[in-house]
């Protein structure tokens, strides 16, 4: 009986908590329950969610990617540089960013599998490098139309309407102009990664690598290729996040995206606790991101000051980790 209760708690505890939270805020904060508020929550978590899905892939192969935040801000700056200063069309700017993300992922992967640098250190180094690199072309300044360049000329380019559309367009769902484009992209990527990790043989092999790399190699899995692929997925999703951020802001703001890394890593780790998976998974990551979003939205509507937000996120993360590691270990211990 006790075992079964524990089992139930591990499996559904987090979802029940999420549901309880929604009910509580709906009752306590007028206006919380409604399509506009829901769209706002989704909007607030879309970009972190996309980054978190990428880092989930690296967690699956037993790695970690600390460079995602820096990749996203680099993509933000690169898209601005490409459109505002070099006056590229939208498509070129987008592909430049995606290519940059893939390249960074490839370098991360090679550092880890070929040069045997531990994953945390390799991606930490890459993070540092990118944070520095994105400042060099503009001498540390933000990029906006009309800014004066070092050679005295004025940047003539602008963010194209098509590019801004990516970040600002809203689809008509229930109410006119409700669902923002980044949310649609977030949901699309979530479904793709969920299918990829959960239902393809590639995903299954990546989980095998994360659980026992040597055993996976000894059944003929090309371990290195899968690991590099995981970091490349992470790099590409991070660059998508950066593109959407740039499209929403409409300028190459050097200071934005500071919280991206911590927030998305937190979402991926909270995801461990969803459905008692006790391992990285796309569904959990998406729910994890949503959980944080709902909590913050509800608290904001109940007039909690903004500076308590990080504290709350941290508390949720710690609770989720205890949930995952302590309760699950008790369950597996009792099973024998």
């Amino acid at each position: 009986m006790n075992d079964r209760f524990l089992d139930f708690a591990i499996r559904y505890g987090f979802l029940i908590l999420l549901f309880g939270l929604i009910v509580y805020f709906s009752l306590a904060a007028p206006g919380f329950f409604g399509p506009l508020s829901a769209a706002f929550v989704l909007q607030s978590v879309a970009i972190t969610g996309i980054l978190a899905l990428g880092v989930t892939c690296t967690l699956v192969v037993g790695g970690f990617d600390l460079s995602i935040g820096a990749v996203a801000t680099s993509a933000l700056m690169l898209s601005a540089y490409s459109m505002v200063i070099l006056e590229h069309p939208t498509v070129v700017a987008v592909f430049l960013c995606l290519g940059m993300g893939a390249l960074v992922g490839l370098i991360n992967g090679l550092l880890i599998v070929k040069f045997r640098v531990p994953d945390l250190l390799a991606t930490l180094g890459m993070m540092f490098l990118l944070i520095g690199l994105q400042r060099i072309p503009t001498q540390g300044n933000s990029i906006a139309t009309g800014m004066t360049l070092t050679d005295g000329t004025v940047a003539e380019g602008t963010f194209s309407a098509a590019f801004l559309w990516l970040g600002r367009h809203r689809f008509d769902v229930v109410i006119d102009r409700l669902l923002p484009m980044p949310v649609v992209i977030f949901i699309g990527i979530a479904v793709l990664i969920w299918l990829f990790l959960g239902f393809t043989r590639h995903g299954r092999l990546m989980y095998a690598i994360g659980s026992n790399e040597r055993a996976a190699a000894l059944v003929g899995t090309p371990v290195n290729r899968y690991k590099i692929a995981a970091y490349m997925i992470s790099g590409v999703t991070a660059s998508i996040g950066g593109i959407l951020l740039a499209a929403r802001l409409g300028r190459g703001d050097i200071a934005s995206g500071n919280n991206l890394l911590l927030d998305s890593v937190a979402a991926a780790l909270i995801g461990f606790a969803v459905l008692g998976a006790a391992r990285p998974n796309a569904f959990g990551t998406a729910i994890g991101a949503l959980f944080v979003g709902i909590l913050l939205q509800g608290m904001t509507m109940m007039n909690a000051p903004y500076y308590t937000q990080d504290f709350v996120k941290g508390a949720v993360l710690v609770a989720a980790l205890v949930f995952t590691f302590y309760l699950s270990s008790r369950r597996s211990g009792a099973g024998h």
Binding site: R201, L205, H336
Partner: protein
Amino acid sequence: MSVDALKVNGLQKSFGKNHVLRGIDVTLEPGSVTVLMGANGAGKSTLVKVICGHQRADGGSMTLAGHPFDPANAADAIRQGVVTVHQSIDDGVIPDLDVANNLMLDRLVERSHGLFVRERHLRAAAAKVAAEMGIDVNLRARVSDLSVADRQMIAIARAMARAPKVLILDEPTSSLSATEADRLFALIDRLRDQGVAILYISHRMSDIRRIADRIIVMRDGAISGTFDTAPLDYEAAVTAMLGHRMTDVDVAVQSGSGPVLELSDLRLTQGAAPINLEARDGEVVALVGLLGSGKSRLAEILYGMARPASGTVRINGENYAPSSVEDAVAQGVFMSPKDRGTNAVIAAFDIADNMTLPFLKSLSVGSLLSAARQKTRAQEMVGQLGIVCQSVSDGIGTLSGGNQQKVMIARWLLEPAQVLLLDEPFQGVDIGARRDIGRHIRATATGRATLVFLAEIDEALEIADRIVVMNEGAIVGEHKNQNVDLAALVANISGAQSTATGPQP
């Protein structure tokens, strides 16, 4: 001795409806080695866990040297003098510290030790412990650089530093070679002379013959036999364990049809003697040899993990030089590696996922996995190999060692192989599962050449058509598995000069 070291009375333990221990009575005497035998699932591990404080009993009592003994946890059991060396050695040592620090680790934990480590004192004390235990290794060497046997010795030495009354060794030889095991036995002899009561859990008959003073056999959660009059009746012990008489496995020796695998002048390393070997279709060849005999190296070469120094390998007449494991598998050479815990089992996966791992491609539509096909295939193999499980969606960790190994072997029987390599397939496997595996390997042998890499002669005699002995990277003897001259075989293995039984055609 008047007082028993450890006395266990009517011990009971259940997990839900599953009665794992139903009234166990055991006494351990000082200065004596008691071997605990039992097939997987007999309740050995649970008994050990209760004695060493990992789990509480539901009923019954224990006394230690005449006093009631009811350890609250593992640390409590150790404090009271019951020390256990578990199967996975690395639980007992700190790999990144040197030998001296490992030996003195328990001293460092004591509050009376003080804040600073006095390096010279520590080394002197460590040297003393090492000398007492007969451990002959460089005290400054890092434990991670030592062999498994040395690490095991250090784990035991650490246990002994607490001067235990009872020492429990859980399958200590499962990853040791014969010579390494001999060193361990010498150490056990010394401890017995010091008056320690030793409980030794093992599957290996050769170990048991070597060190047992008494044998206790468990079966279905109860003691099914106690043997303590010399000479010990080993056959009766095995009977008590299995519930039926141990019959010598009758191998209907096959000589196989056409050659499948041909090694010509293969040198494992620069300067090693050339190896020439042929394995035929339908034939099971056992390669036996001690650690360092080159059989692991040969397995690695055939499986694309290493390159030979020179020579050629042909499969069905075509040159075979795999560049990677992936390449080897693609060419129909499969290997079930030794040490399944590190090399084969995916702990996070269920039985079906573990079993089908190498062949996910053929169980997918495009890239999309078909869970239904995985299940069907896994269920077929579960039936064929007699794997005991509730369902193929159970976690691999819920299976006993023998059944886990069956899953690991089944993995490579899912698709037809040209050459099947089995490296120590009977490691940590009870005798029942071992027979099942052996029978199934032989029954399915047609259509491929099967090479089995083994350290134990008994196991080779059970499974092989032909036994090939390796020593120092060369083939030193070959025996058809029919009225084998055991003395000659043993002489080959131990490297006594080549005997009359030279290679046969």
